[in-house]
Symmetry: C2
Subunit: 494 residues, 2 copies
């Protein structure tokens, strides 16, 4: 048996444990009763320790060296590259730190749910300080291992080979063109006709499920549930997405599902013959987000798709035929309404990048140590006022406590949302140019041509290439904010 | 750090992985989509291999030897005894066998669900043959390790220190007094007034949940869901029970929930200060079943409890006040109706032991090799006719395919159901004699006095004593079928 074959067997077993870990995490968010949190946190930490021990086993070193000398094809070489990188990172991180991070973030995330509901910022400060301190230790070790600055090292764990310089280049472009564009849009848009609620939860759920089916979600290998914050979890052969419902609005849960279905389709479309191997996994968070945002922003919020779906939406909530409130044009105005607001996950596609830039700048300072956790609310309020012209004040729940990420130890993740939005515009512009069936399909509720294009150009590629080379191969250029700018101009200034 | 302290740390980590395993098993039964079965089977096998490797680690041998020489209290000695036994068993079982069993039973159990629905016995034979063959290999190894006959060794894994001789003694007693008692009961009982359905699922679910609360289930550390076959799963701090609904009958799902709540209360009442240690676990399946049957048979099917619950039942399903069909006496007649039937899980408490004796005798022959899998249907039909006077014919789904146990590799488990019924009668006779508040509480829907007695006499004892010594300590005698006989005579011949 070749060294490479031994390595694939080993990683198959490792990925199986990681799949159990993914299902258990989903359970923690969707199913676990409140009083079980402490004990579950310990159990998850025990599993993380076990996985870490296997991922960092010293004997892998020799096998990796031997395999490098073997004759391998492109997929195998990429697989070996990922194995090597994962092993180096795992070896660098001490077991104690991995375990502390798992316990502390699990505890902090659970406490955050209650503290956020009570707008109780002081209650969460000590736990968040612990999470930041452990995350800084982790960043320092990764920086040393990957030979990168600390924040770049974190970025690299979320999107391999992505650098602060890539982020800064695109973010500077956004900072230049977004504010004047926003002013123009706010100046010309009119308020849509309000939609009369309430919107019963069961009708919303059924509509979401229909849309998931329409977009191509495979329910034979997936689930759809409710959680505090919408997410896509599980594993390629058991992909689980969630949303949350509010009887006063329906567009949020529906668009959350369009978004999460985009993630899910990526996961379900990963190359089956590479299942359980590092190269068979999805690329990083930016590419993942490009798939969810392609589905949400480019497809589901388009005039074509909304026009197709409008009759189903009206029927779901008892909208009368011919009532302009339930007509396609008014629904489209709702789906593309732009507004300066406090909440990232409710933000429209024009202001969203500004929410992200704010978080990117603050988290870089949290990781560098420049910004202490205790001063986060005032720094947040200051940046909100500068970028979005709205003040958070003491509304922490809708301010710096609104997102789970930092409380769950996710630093370096936020920029990937906006890079994903840029890449989504870039993929979609290319796709619709390469196959005209894609646009006509969307206007008829036929998503198969688009899914076929995505499967062959993105999903089925796994981690064969990193983000920039893949973009170059498929679209002809590296990440470029111009596609996104043109998309916004076409949608909002025509 | 003492050797004993090192061992408790080690077992804490091991139990945490086992808790993840328990939650993942629950997920497999309640949440997992059909198409994910193969990959999940592999993932569960990987986790089982990892747990097995840790449970059988050679370095534990020296620690166990050293700890035996340390000064330990009774709980610690019992804990060390369980650690030693578990380690010996784990060392004896080769990793390959553990892994094959996990994959094969997972596959067979999934195939059984479809084959049973289609009454397709031939479809499941090859997989069941594999399961039996692997189970026989396992039995032979356990027999060698525990110095017991093969079937006794399997029995011992489900209820420590329980022997075939214990089972035979009580089963002979049952075979003597049950048939004439059954004739007497059938001769004198009259048919209850039929209850008009349908019984909407949501009304059934709500009633079940109310009863769970009444009996003392802690929803802060537990859940209640639907699955193919009712069960109690999860872990002490996250106890999950399930039932299934049929709109044509409601008593089945309600009594299944009374039963599973009995299991759940045991699990939730295990000694918290021994959490994660072997001695802090529940005793075997017979004692576990004694807790579920105490709750179902002794409490919930009693005239006292049914009288208390009757108005709630009538209200749940729109029964008119004063209608004798919905009166306490008629509901009690339904809950205690005796009938010779094909299905074990639908059987009443009088005929149930005969279903078990049939399975006990057949599985002993499957394990000895005397009975080949292919001949199971005819052996089943023959025994049904002898013990219960009803023939299965070609109705495999309601014959030898009705129970999941053998398809999931559970051999040696069936007798524990009936031993549990006997022990339930014995515990309850003792409890109501020691605290008169218990009976009056039940007739008023106050279960606290009973739960207090169970917590202090059974649940809180963990695995400090094995079954027979515990029965002796609490009730004054070892397992004795006379309690069960007196219970049946009092309930059915008065």
């Amino acid at each position: 048996m070749s060294a490479y074959a031994k390595l694939t067997d080993y990683h198959q077993q490792l990925s199986q444990l990681q799949e159990i870990q993914a299902i258990s995490s989903w359970d923690e968010a969707c199913m676990m009763p409140t009083g079980s949190g402490d004990r579950r946190g310990q159990a998850m930490a025990a599993l993380a320790r076990t996985i870490h021990a296997q991922a960092s086993a010293p004997e892998l070193g020799d096998l990796l060296d031997l395999a490098r000398a073997e004759s391998l094809d492109a997929w195998q070489r990429a697989n070996l590259g990922d194995m090597t990188r994962n092993w180096k990172i795992a070896r660098a991180l001490p077991m104690d730190l991995v375990s502390s991070l798992s316990i502390t973030t699990s505890r902090c995330e659970q406490a955050w749910r209650q503290a956020r509901a009570a707008n109780d910022w002081p209650a969460i400060v000590p736990l968040l300080e612990e999470v930041v301190s452990l995350s800084r230790q982790r960043a320092a070790i990764l920086a040393d291992t990957l030979q990168l600055p600390a924040y770049d090292a974190l970025l690299d764990t979320y999107e391999p080979a992505l650098r602060t310089s890539d982020v800064n280049a695109e973010f500077e472009s956004l900072k230049t063109f977004l504010p004047p564009l926003l002013d123009q849009i706010l100046g010309r848009q009119s308020a849509p006709i309000p939609l009369p609620g309430p919107f019963p939860v069961e009708a919303q759920r059924q509509l979401c499920q229909n849309v998931m089916e329409l977009l191509g979600f495979d329910f034979n290998r997936g689930r759809f549930d409710v959680s505090h914050h919408p997410f896509c979890g599980g594993v390629p052969d058991d992909t689980r997405i969630t949303t949350r419902y509010d009887e006063k609005v329906f567009l949020e849960s529906l668009m959350a599902i369009c978004h999460e279905t985009g993630h899910a389709l990526y996961q379900q479309g990963l190359p089956a013959d590479m299942r359980g191997q590092p190269v068979g996994n999805s690329l990083g968070a930016a590419v993942h987000e490009s798939q969810s945002l392609l589905m949400e922003l480019q497809v589901c919020r388009s005039r074509d798709f909304i026009s197709f779906l409008a009759p189903q939406i009206a029927a779901a909530f008892g909208g009368a035929e011919g009532d302009p409130a339930w007509g396609a044009e008014n629904l489209y105005q709702h789906a593309t309404h732009v507004e300066q607001s406090l909440i990232r996950v409710q933000a429209d596609e024009v202001t969203y990048p500004l929410h992200v830039i704010l978080r990117y700048e603050l988290e870089a300072q949290l990781i560098s140590g420049e910004l202490p956790v205790a001063r986060l609310p005032e720094a947040w309020d200051d940046a909100m006022t500068r970028y979005l012209g709205v003040s958070t004040g003491n509304d922490y729940a809708n301010g710096c406590m609104q997102d789970v990420h930092w409380f769950a130890g996710l630093f370096g993740y936020f920029p990937t949302y906006t890079l994903g939005a840029l890449a989504a515009a870039q993929w979609f512009a290319t796709a619709k140019q390469q196959d005209p069936e894609i646009l006509s399909g969307i206007s008829e509720g036929r998503l198969a041509p688009l899914l076929t294009w995505l499967r062959s150009n993105v999903h089925g590629k796994g981690r064969l290439l990193t983000m920039q080379p893949l973009l170059r191969e498929v679209t002809g250029s590296e990440l470029n904010a111009d596609y996104f700018r043109r998309h916004l101009e076409t949608r909002y200034l025509n």
